[in-house]
């Protein structure tokens, strides 16, 4: 029985770093290659040594697919391709390919800042890795090799995020990556067609949550920024170079315009320009509203947001600053934080999750006296806010996607075990499909029942009268030709012709002993008369050489070598007359009735 095997190396019952191995119809695919930002050592990368115990990775894996540019989905890629030694194809969408190196470069800077960081990739490695990437378009079927094909679907989540369908023959898997089923300010909702995959691998971050509309969170964010600025305070928003930053920039830009605000907004990194350039370039990936208004005004051309200079931090008066890196790891965002932390009028807004070991994590857990370098104590008087803008499908969204794709099995990744368990039961109850949730390192095996398409030759079809209805099942006989990776049902004659084979007749033979002391030809005659009497509807003939035929069945009478009183009847028949042949044999075995002439 064919099977699909799935082994998560990351994202199995956790939200750390995604890396899922899928084995389908002899092909091995790696889905995402993420990094865990909470570790400084090798634990940040998935343990690739489990992929294959013997042989090279490049020989084992047929391709790597990256769903989107977040580091927990692509952060280990340069390590995997340039340091571990994978040299095969890598697929991602065009925006992901453009944006990925910016984020990798951004994170590399943090690791350079941390002494003792080992085994991390260089800029050259990021570039070399990106050169190996094959970029794909939405809904474009990409042939990885002769059997394996992949296709990207829109996933919402972030710019360029995609779900991927992986197909070999008639078996298929859909991997969602991270996705969002409700459109937001700059992105649309995820969509996949009713592709009925054997398996849907879906994220389950908000497996048990029904999320409020993102609009509420956005309103809240604007209110807080506005209030702070109004009272003359400064707002610091630590971000990574790309992603959330652009989202919030659009928010502030339109708000500033509407409210006619004058306080300056700065973006602290030189990377913005390139980032905004990409958002402009990939306008087709954004939502309908942005696309429609694009001709009048590109949302990503910011009038109010200007580049930041270090000296501005000391300027008096209100301002809003977006600064990297995102979790107050080090660098500019931390430097500004240290300057502004002591003033209660100021505010820091953390727009995303912070790992342990960062200043961001500390202030979010409520710590207000921080030890800084040189044993100095920094008292945090500024307001600290956390706002989650992460755009994942909630429980309702996940169910909606399953309804949309109609998979035969579901597998949950990228979520917490407890919440997954709840969702798993819900899915099994509602859709009556099996739902799995393997932990990292555990392999889930799914049996598939592939239907193999077979072409039927026109000649064979025409033989059937009336011509069979395509919608109704019909039994047909013919020869199955397996040639050039395809199956065809043809007539036996055509099969012989195509394969250049000669026809052979298969005959069954049988010896029947009967007691008859007469000469052979007399016995033959008696058999003939007997059969003629019984088989009235058949053509029974007595041939000049003494043998008898009934249709294709041949009967010859010979003498027994040792016993003169016994005659041996040799019966032989073809495959087509098998029934008649065995009937005759059983008839003859009863012997000739007395008085047969």
């Amino acid at each position: 029985m064919p099977e699909i095997k799935v082994t998560p190396l990351g994202a199995g019952q956790d939200v750390g770093r995604s890396c899922i191995l899928v084995s389908i119809a002899g092909k091995n695919v790696m889905l995402d290659c993420g990094m865990h930002m909470g570790y400084n050592d090798d634990r940040r990368f998935p343990d690739f040594s489990y992929i294959t115990q013997n042989g090279r990775l490049t020989d084992f894996l047929d391709c790597v697919i990256i769903s989107h540019f977040h580091l927990d989905h692509c952060g280990a890629l340069p390590y995997f391709s340039e340091m571990v030694g994978y040299d095969g194809p890598i697929y991602m969408t065009h925006p992901t390919k453009a944006i990925c190196p910016i984020l990798l470069e951004d994170y590399r800077k943090i690791t350079v800042d941390k002494k003792g960081e080992t085994n991390f990739f260089t800029s050259q490695m990021i570039k070399d890795c990106m050169k190996k990437v094959v970029a794909v378009h939405l809904h474009q079927t990409v042939q990885v090799d002769e059997e394996l094909e992949i296709k990207a679907y829109y996933a919402g989540h972030v710019l360029g995020a995609a779900m991927f369908q992986i197909k070999v023959g008639c078996e298929s898997v859909v991997y969602t990556g991270d996705y969002n089923m409700t459109p937001d300010r700059h992105l649309g909702a995820a969509w996949v067609d009713k592709c009925r995959p054997d398996l849907l691998i879906t994220e389950s971050t908000y497996a048990t949550t029904i999320r409020d509309s993102k609009r509420c969170r956005e309103r809240d964010f604007l209110k807080k920024v506005h209030e702070t600025v109004e009272r003359g305070g400064k707002v610091l928003i630590p971000v990574f170079a790309l992603g959330r930053a652009q989202e919030l920039c659009i928010l502030l830009e339109t708000f500033w315009e509407r409210m006619n605000l004058k306080a300056p907004i700065y973006f602290s990194t030189g990377l913005t320009e390139k980032a905004n350039h990409y958002y402009k370039l990939f306008i087709t990936w954004t939502n309908q509203k942005i696309r429609k208004t694009f001709v009048q005004r590109n949302m990503f051309e910011f009038k109010h947001i200007k580049a930041f200079d270090r000296a501005f931090a000391d300027n008096p008066g209100p301002m809003v600053v977006f600064a990297t890196p995102g979790m107050l790891h080090a660098g500019q965002s931390l430097q500004i934080f240290r300057k502004w932390a002591g003033n209660e009028k100021n505010m820091v807004i953390m727009p995303g999750y912070c790992v342990q070991g960062t200043v961001g994590h500390k202030i979010l857990s409520g710590q207000r006296k921080l030890e800084m370098e040189g044993r100095q104590i920094l008292e945090v008087k500024m307001q600290v806010e956390y706002m989650s803008f992460s755009a994942h499908a909630d429980a309702k969204g996940i169910m909606q996607l399953i309804r949309q794709a109609e998979p035969r099995n579901v597998l949950l990744v990228h979520g917490e075990a407890k919440k997954m368990e709840f969702l798993r039961q819900k899915i099994e109850q509602e859709f009556h499909v099996s739902c799995f949730m393997p932990a990292n390192g555990e392999t889930t095996t799914i049996l598939t029942n592939p239907c193999i398409p077979v072409d039927i030759s026109l000649g064979l079809l025409k033989r059937e009268t009336p011509v069979p209805d395509a919608k109704k099942p019909k039994l047909m006989h013919g020869s199955l030709l397996m040639k050039d990776n395809s199956f065809r049902l043809v007539s036996p004659e055509q099969a012989l012709k195509e394969l250049g084979l000669a026809e052979h007749q298969l005959r069954f033979t049988c010896r029947v002993h009967i007691q008859d002391p007469r000469k052979e030809h007399e016995t033959g005659l008696r058999v003939y008369n007997h059969l003629k009497g019984i088989l009235k509807d058949y053509s029974v003939q007595h041939l000049p050489d003494g043998s008898i035929t009934v249709e294709s069945i041949l009967i010859q009478a010979t003498a027994h070598s040792e016993d003169q009183g016994t005659k041996v009847l040799l019966v032989s028949w073809t495959y087509q007359d098998e029934e008649l042949g065995s009937y005759l044999t059983s008839l003859l075995k009863k012997g000739l009735p007395q008085g047969t002439p």
Partner: protein, 816 residues
């Protein structure tokens, strides 16, 4: 453990054991275990557990929880294992009756949490940490733990199965090697009970009818012999090998066991280990039979491993090489109907299997890729004890490449089948080009004969796949290196012909619509320039081609990676593009091109291409002013590197004898004064002191390095022992301010570089004062710490855990 940590620990332990507290970020628990590991590593005393009773209380509380979460059980198991890693702490925990309840039958093994793979994995890790002293072994044997470990070898979780196997290796090695008093070489009845159990288990599994049991045991043996590698010879390994050798042989002969790859790996690990002593003959016979019986794909890794060994007999080596060369031989033979044109002597090659593998579409590419990867590995070895038939290998490679691009379809049936299988096969193409590149290392007379053919045949062909092109470039540039060493003039023409061909291809590629192709072409050009720049023919060909003009055009490429590579590639014609590069440095919107420019400038400076000192001074000054406010930290870092080179050159030029010691602190000698003036005029100090306060640490570190170097030049060591007194003068006040500011923590500051607060960074006297007064070495130490050394400290971790559990009510999972 510091006092602060000891004070925080009870609170943390109480919080961890409290089931009402929400779950912690899993990294916190891992890092907590890291900390305990580091605490116990060098300290076997019982003090840690005695002085911190909260640790045992934590274990007790977790054991008492009615429905503990898998994560806290996992943590506790690992913690207990780490604590029990020394005998004294083990005994302490035993007295408290904790270990049996954790690792024994009544522990998590029998409860519902055992279903969770993380708990099983943690149990194994805990046991692994514990097995570092003798009393641990009888404890484990008596609690039925051995059977659990044996079962976990076949766990559905890869991580658990692998951890179980590693644990068994560790236990066997530990139990045998720690009992040094007994003679273990004789028979296993003398062996410790634990070792006997493991060996018995291995033997039973090997004879089991279950394929998975056999495979598990083979894997276990493989890692066991693999782990002996490099350690001193232990007699017991030989005893063990003798015990199982027959069984292994039977697996090879029967071919009923589907574990050939593991079998090959085991043989290789045995061959590598110091086990073989006195059993060599029979072992090598077994290896030889394995090479014969395993399929080429299975035997490949074994063969290449054997060829790397020093102690392998020559006949086995030759056979191993034959295994690797057979597919290449088959390719050559497939070209022709008749004739001894293969790569191997016909008597040693049995081509049937290989031929059938190459004839099949599904196995052909796989076999060739594997073979080529192995050959690449062999070619990279410095000491290969067999001769590789390089000429034939090259011919075979060329044939494969021609099959791949469809330029060759031989008349023989086998040849045409293989060529059909390989056409457009990028995987094979890439691997073949890698071998081609590696083959260039094997210098020999044959090289030139094939060089022309190789390059000219390959470069002009249109490759649809970028990676293939890149590999071609890599291979070509490796071969081109040898052009330099060509002997006679008669070959000069040939060289020119080759180069013309190469440049023609390059011209085309530089105009490619794919940025990847343009970029790799530029990288290829840079590599060529680097190795052939001194060769006349090369320079002439380069100058007469369009390549330089195209490269200059690429300085304005829309893709920043390409612009950066164009900068790097174009430095050959420096004089004409210096203005252009300066423009890029000040205007390019992206970091990569600017980084490339600054590194080229530094390179020129280092090579002395910028002319007289006065010109250089102006040049450096201009560059500094441009990069000082650059948004990219690597550009600023590059600027500091330029300054460093400039300083050392200026010192060399202006000091008559650069190595002579400077006689006094406040030197009045002209060269020193002049030097300071040069540095001040070039606006060096403003940049250097400003960089000390850069928000990106590497920049501050480098600036500090440069300043420390300068101080070493201007002040002899003896004067630095007493810190310089800052005079009460206008200049002195400024420097005192600078001193204070830097002392307050450089990273929090923005240092005004325009002379604010009375510091005149262009005044030689002030700067001389600053160099002497500021404690640069202390600053250096401070800057050299990791940016997160405070946040990553154990104390900070404990504070974080306390803060998290104390404040956040519902720790909603979130991610980016």
């Amino acid at each position: 453990m510091t006092r602060e940590c000891a004070a925080l620990l009870p609170g943390v332990c109480a919080a961890l054991a409290d089931p009402r507290q929400p779950g912690l970020d899993d990294t916190c628990l891992e890092k907590l275990l890291d900390w305990f590991r580091s605490l116990t590593w060098f300290d076997p005393t019982v003090e840690l557990v005695q002085d911190n009773p909260s640790l045992t209380e934590l274990i007790t509380s977790v054991l008492a929880l009615p429905d503990p979460s898998p994560s806290i059980v996992s943590f506790t198991l690992q913690l207990a294992g780490i604590l029990a890693s020394s005998e004294s702490r083990f005994q302490h925990l035993q007295q408290e009756k904790l270990l049996g309840r954790l690792f024994g039958r009544e522990g998590p093994r029998g409860s519902a949490v055992w279903e969770d793979a993380s708990v099983r994995s943690a149990w194994l890790k805990g046991v692994h940490s514990m097995v570092h002293h003798q009393p641990a072994l009888p404890f484990l044997c008596s609690t039925g733990s051995m059977d659990v470990i044996f079962t976990l070898q076949g766990d559905p979780s890869l991580f658990v199965a692998s951890a179980a196997s590693q644990l068994l290796v560790h236990m066997l090695t530990f139990s045998l090697e720690s009992e040094t008093s007994k003679a273990l070489s004789a028979k296993d009845c003398d062996w410790p009970a634990c070792a006997q159990m493991i060996v018995k288990h291995i033997q039973e599994s090997l004879q089991s009818s279950s394929a998975s049991h056999v495979e598990q045991s083979l894997k276990l043996l493989s890692s066991l012999f693999g782990s002996c590698f490099g350690s001193c010879y232990a007699a017991w390994t030989e005893v063990l090998w003798l015990d199982i050798a027959k069984q292994i042989e039977s697996f090879l002969l029967e071919e009923t066991v589907q574990a050939q790859p593991v079998l090959a790996n085991l043989l290789l690990n045995v061959a590598r280990s110091p086990v073989l002593c006195g059993t060599e003959g029979s072992f090598w016979a077994l290896v030889t039979s394995a090479l014969e019986r395993l399929t080429p794909v299975q035997a490949g890794p074994l063969a290449v491993g054997l060829l790397k060994l020093c102690k392998c007999p020559q006949d086995v080596r030759i056979q191993a090489l034959t295994v690797l060369l057979q597919p290449m031989d088959c390719i050559l033979r497939a070209l022709f109907f008749f004739g001894p044109l293969g790569l191997l002597d016909e008597s040693v090659s049995d081509p049937v299997t290989v031929e059938s593998l190459l004839s099949s579409k599904t196995s052909c590419a796989g076999l060739l890729c594997q073979t080529l990867a192995h050959l690449e590995k062999l070619l990279s070895l410095k000491h290969l004890k067999v001769d590789l038939p390089c000429v034939s290998l090259l011919r075979s490679l060329m044939t494969i490449l021609q099959f791949c691009n469809g330029s060759l379809s031989p008349p023989s049936p086998l040849g045409s089948t293989i060529s059909r299988n390989l056409i457009n096969c990028f995987r094979v193409q890439k691997s073949a080009l890698d071998v081609l590149a590696a083959l260039s290392e094997k210098k020999g007379e044959f090289i030139f004969a094939f060089l022309t053919k190789t390059i000219l045949q390959f470069c002009p062909i249109c490759f649809p796949l970028f990676q293939v092109l890149k590999k071609t470039f890599q291979a070509t540039s490796k071969w081109l290196v040898h052009l330099q060493g060509l002997p006679s003039n008669s070959q000069q023409q040939q060289t020119e012909k080759i180069l013309e061909g190469v440049f023609l291809v390059l011209q085309k590629r530089l105009c490619s619509p794919c940025w990847e192709v343009r970029d790799s072409s530029l990288e290829f050009l840079t590599a060529m320039v680097k190795c052939l720049r001194d060769q006349n023919e090369f320079r002439q060909c380069l100058l007469s081609s369009e390549v330089l003009r195209l490269t200059e055009n690429l300085l304005e490429d829309p893709e920043s990676y390409v612009r950066a590579s164009a900068v790097t590639a174009s430095h050959l014609s420096q004089a004409s593009i210096i203005a252009k590069l300066q423009e890029i440095l000040s205007t390019d919107s992206e970091g990569f091109p600017r980084r490339a420019v600054i590194s080229i400038f530094t390179k020129w400076l280092r090579e002395g291409c910028t002319g007289r000192l006065e010109d250089t001074e102006q040049f450096v000054s201009r560059v500094i002013q441009t990069v000082e406010h650059d948004l990219d930290w690597e550009v600023r870092l590059g600027g500091l590197e330029l300054v460093e080179v400039f300083c050392s050159q200026a010192i060399c030029q202006l000091s008559q004898c650069p190595y002579a010691p400077v006689s006094s602190a406040v030197t009045s000698s002209t060269p020193q004064k002049e030097l300071l003036q040069v540095f001040c005029r070039a606006k060096l100090f403003g940049f250097l002191f400003g960089s000390l306060c850069d928000c990106d640490k590497p920049v501050g570190q480098r600036a500090c390095d440069v300043l420390v170097g300068l101080r070493g030049h201007f002040y002899p060591m003896s004067t630095l022992e007493n810190p310089q007194e800052v005079e009460d003068s206008p200049a002195g006040r400024g420097i005192a301010w600078l001193q204070r500011t830097l002392r307050q923590g450089s990273l929090a500051q923005n240092l005004p570089t325009d002379g604010g607060d009375g510091v005149d960074f262009q005044d030689p006297e002030s700067m001389m004062l600053a160099l002497g007064a500021i404690d640069l070495l202390e600053l250096h130490d401070e800057l050299n710490k990791s940016s997160d050394h405070v946040e990553e400290s154990p104390q900070s971790l404990l504070q974080d855990i306390l803060a998290t559990v104390g404040t956040i009510e519902d720790n909603e999972v979130d991610c980016y």
